[in-house]
Symmetry: C2
Subunit: 304 residues, 2 copies
């Protein structure tokens, strides 16, 4: 079972409008509510692909109740931790003309030290039967920078490898804790190491202690760096919804890690699932027809 | 006691941002939640001005719980009716540069026939000790066009006069039911009678059966038309938050109706409270310092 942790989930509310015009009033045509969080999306993709998974995360307040209700309704295996901080909301205003999304993300409330300890206990409980731990998405406000690093070390204590998808100091700390795969996008990598070139940045995270770094570069594909090899993979250019593409890649990397597949295969699968996720309208799902036809080109780079 | 009815309330969520840029992601600096609805604002102003009031309206779902919690916390006298339709949300994104608000208004769910009957019963229960009934704000989707008209007639059965603030067919119907004061703004009046000139429109509502019509024209003041007289009132030009200015005017008109003050006095008070509401940062409150200094110019028009 692949255990995913979403420490800063949100109730994602999605509004359909014709067009967003600042300073005016918009009548909403349709409203959708959904449990939001990158770890949840990873578990959704794994479930769709037939890979056993369990999603954990903290929830609080009335929006936490709605989030829990959505996970139950969708049949996603989960164990949520009731905490005192109220679950936050994000509002995505999806416009038809031009087709884009305007996002309003609440920061959420800080989690108490005791709730962090309880979340750690919950992860420990499930690590006993986990093959991989995935830590995904932003941390709540005022979270310790080494929150993910602590979970990575905890997983190591149980002999469980970990995948971490985050940016900034939390990414550096996870590298230093010896995470097995880091999967930042270019911006998250830049916020962690302060360099623009993704390969240079990835190698810096390897030097800190990570076993492998996959950097997603959007339409430019992905690079994978280990201490001994470097590959670049480019998939097809697909129009669609890029939200959740990174989560599909994380799901593929975690699955590959749990099955000890060769690195180039993991990268190929990550880019394929990611492309098929762009083709699916909702984050956390992949278009299986697109997946069947995806071609990925892999190049090995010289490693310095 | 002035009884206010808000048939389509909302949980108003307010986000502070620097600037709204369509198609981008905004991190929210601060989040405010508040029970929203024009009738609630009328009751808030009346409470501030020392006039006894009670607010009624339907609530449902988890947002209904939040709305109720806010009314309890604010100490506003209320009796809310639990209904099956979930209370809607509105999101106001308040930008600093330029200073404006971008609104996203959920439509809400339709109320069942049985819940309409229960709301009517709740109004009837409180009409026994009410001096005025105020019906304020939009109706839920698929509401009967004569919903307010029915409440106006119900109030008449109890010998209680009514003030109605709405637009469209519901305003026409309320006029035909013999409402004592209608208080549309220019746009609501236009949507009801299809003419641009506010005085012509007001006289059409009088012809349908209303006893008096007050049309608020923003910075251009207000006009008051009765079958025998017409006045225009212009207050000071005040920069501020126009949301809730109309509700303050309705509160003043209801108070004047309950105390049987002369028409020009009612209009003067309506324009004064409205101006003082613009000066207050939050809808449903008036700035008492501004109120003390407000000067209103009243002109009587020849009545044809």
């Amino acid at each position: 079972m692949i255990l995913t942790c979403t420490p800063n989930p949100a109730l994602d509310v999605s509004y359909q409008v014709d067009r967003v015009v600042p300073g005016t009033t918009h009548r909403i045509r349709s409203v959708l509510e959904r449990a939001g969080g990158k770890g949840f999306n990873v578990s959704r993709v794994l479930t769709q692909m037939g890979v056993p998974t369990l999603a954990v995360g903290p929830v609080g307040g009335i929006l936490g109740d709605s989030l829990r209700a959505d996970l139950i309704e969708s049949g996603l295996p989960h164990e949520l931790l009731p905490v005192t901080a109220a679950t936050r909301m994000t509002v995505a205003v999806v416009a038809a003309d031009p087709p884009d999304a305007t996002m309003f993300n609440e920061p959420g409330g800080p989690m108490s030290e005791m709730d962090w300890a309880r979340l750690r206990d919950l992860i420990a409980k499930h690590l006993r039967r986990a093959s991989v731990l995935v830590c995904s998405g932003s941390l709540p406000p005022d979270a310790p920078e080494d929150a993910y690093a602590g979970f990575v070390k905890l997983a190591k204590d149980f002999g469980v490898p970990s995948v971490v998808d985050v940016g900034g100091p939390a990414l550096r700390a996870a590298a230093a804790a010896g995470a097995d795969i880091l999967k930042p996008n270019a911006e998250e990598l830049r916020s962690a190491v302060g360099v623009d070139d993704p390969l240079t940045g990835a190698r810096e995270l390897l030097a800190l202690g990570a076993s492998a770094v996959v950097v997603s570069l959007g339409a430019d594909g992905s690079i994978l760096a280990t201490p001994t090899a470097t590959w670049r993979a480019v998939g097809p250019r697909i129009d669609g919804n890029p939200t959740g593409a990174g989560d599909a890649a994380v799901a593929a990397l975690a699955d590959g890690l749990s099955r000890a597949t060769p690195w180039p295969d993991r990268l190929r699968t990550a880019v394929s699932w990611s492309a098929a996720a762009v083709a699916a309208p909702v984050a956390g799902t992949i278009d299986e027809d697109v997946l069947a036809g995806v071609e990925v080109e892999i190049t090995e780079y010289p490693t310095p």
